[in-house]
Amino acid sequence: MADSLIRARRTKNRMERVFEWIFLICACAAILSVVVITAYMLISGGPAVFKVGIGDFLFGTEWAPTASDPKFGILPMILASLCATFGAILIGVPIGIFTSIFLSKMAPKRAAKFLKSAVELLAGIPSVVYGLIGMIIVVPAVAAIFNLPTGACLFSAIIVLAIMILPTVISISETSIRAVPGYLEEASLGLGATKIQTIFKVVIPAARSGIITSIVLGVGRAIGETMAVIMVAGNVVNLPELFGSVRLMTTGIVMEMSYADEFHKSVLFAIGLVLFVFIMVINISVNTVLKKASKKYE
């Protein structure tokens, strides 16, 4: 009797141990994935960078992968990506922050609920649908308003990206504005400041790090966006001009992947590697610097 109890206890203990290990292995899947992804991006993109030459690759302005004397300069694509992202931030961030202020401080409860599900829906719409809308509405509209032969240009990409980063900016700013403790606001109102003054001089500065996080994540979303941009940007490799056709890093990869030969393909992976480095810098800065700062009031 006692013997069998001990034995049962032992198998139970073993089960406990086994499952703890299984859960631990599951938890390490994230680490493993990041390591493998980084390794494979380096392996498949790295050699091409050195073969072309780092300087020629990053700062070359000529992209002619299929010419008899092929040129692989991706500076136009890097600049186009940066310009498109910057433009999207310039337009999308103010709209997003103002909306998040309305959502967290001014809207009645039911309106806030409705607005919140609207923002969630905006976040859920697939990028190809944004691209389709951009192609059918934004591109012709830009062509008509600015009197251009074609509206497929950097400006259209900026408009589409600005809309696509809205949900990111709104929801993260809203959370951080809501996290600001009420006593700060009450003190300000008690001193005779108006509601708007309180919001802009007390609440927003207090929620600053969360709002900056939302902007940086918006940058990450904009710089990595592919399918929506490819449908509106025109896709010609040019140094960026507001109303000129451009090709971004992301779209450059998709455009040529299907017909690229071996070396050309590895250069496309090298573009992916450059993009990956950009994204890693953004992610790591969000996770190390900004997240810590925004924990202040939690």
Binding site: A30, I37, Y40, P126, V128, G224, I279, N283
Partner: protein
């Protein structure tokens, strides 16, 4: 007018500042603009897309011979990818969340796991696509196939599942664990019989959010699952054949500039799916909130 009168007047009168009004105007304008953009997109897609939605559209394959342009194979491919991705990522994600919230002691390993989860969430889908292409399609020799696409997406949705499950485990009151352990239940038994049932609505909403991401994905699939559009020949064999999802097919049609009606039809289907998914996730999180309300 005496001084006293002036100050009494200004105290009762609401102070109006020009800059306040300008800012208030901007706040209202931005909110209305956000709503108008969303309404515009949804209405436009429905107006353009709903007319091409019909039984034929949903139940045939694109074929020059028969003259049909339906999307049934894409719906099937999308379902395949959703199911396989969830079969891989849900157990792993839940296991990881259980480890993080029930077993792990605060330390370097937990920090590293949480950090890498955030990193995974921030990687754009095009990078997942490139990685999936070299790792699953080329290195593991899966070619362009639904299984390669699903494996790629499993990594992509992992952060969503881990984080949402972790949140819902956190919302289970600590007294439940103490009660179970106090009655002699083992840790594993507590997890199985107390924690997971309590966290179920949260886990379900993690799954639903992941479905939303998978259905909307395109850049990560175009180089991994490919662009095949034939009807599946047999149930299991289809896993290893190339297959375009709804989004990928929409992209194909739109870039060729043909059959815009079909593109908008697919877009309408996608938006309906997103609306249903958001609604379901909302309902579930409401249930989770109700379940743990009052006990803490």
């Amino acid at each position: 007018m005496s001084n006293a009168e002036i100050s009494a007047g200004s105290l009762t009168k609401k102070r109006l500042r020009l800059s306040d009004n300008v800012l208030k105007g901007l706040i209202w304008a931005s909110t209305i603009l956000t709503l108008a953009i969303l309404a515009g997109i949804v209405i436009y897609v429905f107006v353009q897309g709903l007319p091409s939605l019909s039984w034929d559209f949903l139940s045939t394959a694109p074929s020059e011979l028969k003259g049909t342009i339906g999307v049934l194979p894409m719906i099937i491919n999308t379902l395949y990818i959703v199911v396989i991705t969830l079969l891989i990522s849900t157990p792993v994600g839940i296991g990881a969340a259980i480890y993080l919230s029930e077993y792990a002691k605060k330390g370097k390993l937990v920090k590293l796991i949480e950090f890498t989860t955030e990193i995974l969430a921030g990687i754009p889908s095009i990078i997942y696509g490139l990685f999936g292409f070299v790792f699953f399609c080329t290195f593991m020799q899966l070619q362009y196939s639904i299984i390669a696409g699903a494996l790629t997406l499993s990594i992509m949705v992992l952060p969503t599942i881990i984080r949402t499950t972790q949140e819902s485990l956190k919302s289970v009151p600590f007294s439940y664990r103490e009660g179970a352990l106090g009655m002699g239940s083992t840790r594993l038994h507590t997890i199985r019989t107390i924690l997971l049932p309590c966290a179920l609505p949260g886990i379900l909403s993690a799954v639903i959010l992941s479905i939303g991401r998978i259905v909307g994905e395109s850049a990560a699939l175009i180089f991994t699952a490919g662009i095949g559009y034939s009807m599946p020949q047999n149930l299991l064999g289809h896993v290893s054949s190339s297959g375009a999802t709804l989004t990928v097919q929409l992209y194909q049609y739109a870039m060729r500039g043909e059959k815009l009606g079909v593109s908008f039809g697919i877009a309408a289907v996608l938006i309906i799916i997103v609306i249903v998914i958001n609604f379901a996730a909302r309902m579930l999180s409401k249930r989770l909130a109700k379940k743990t309300e009052g006990v803490s």
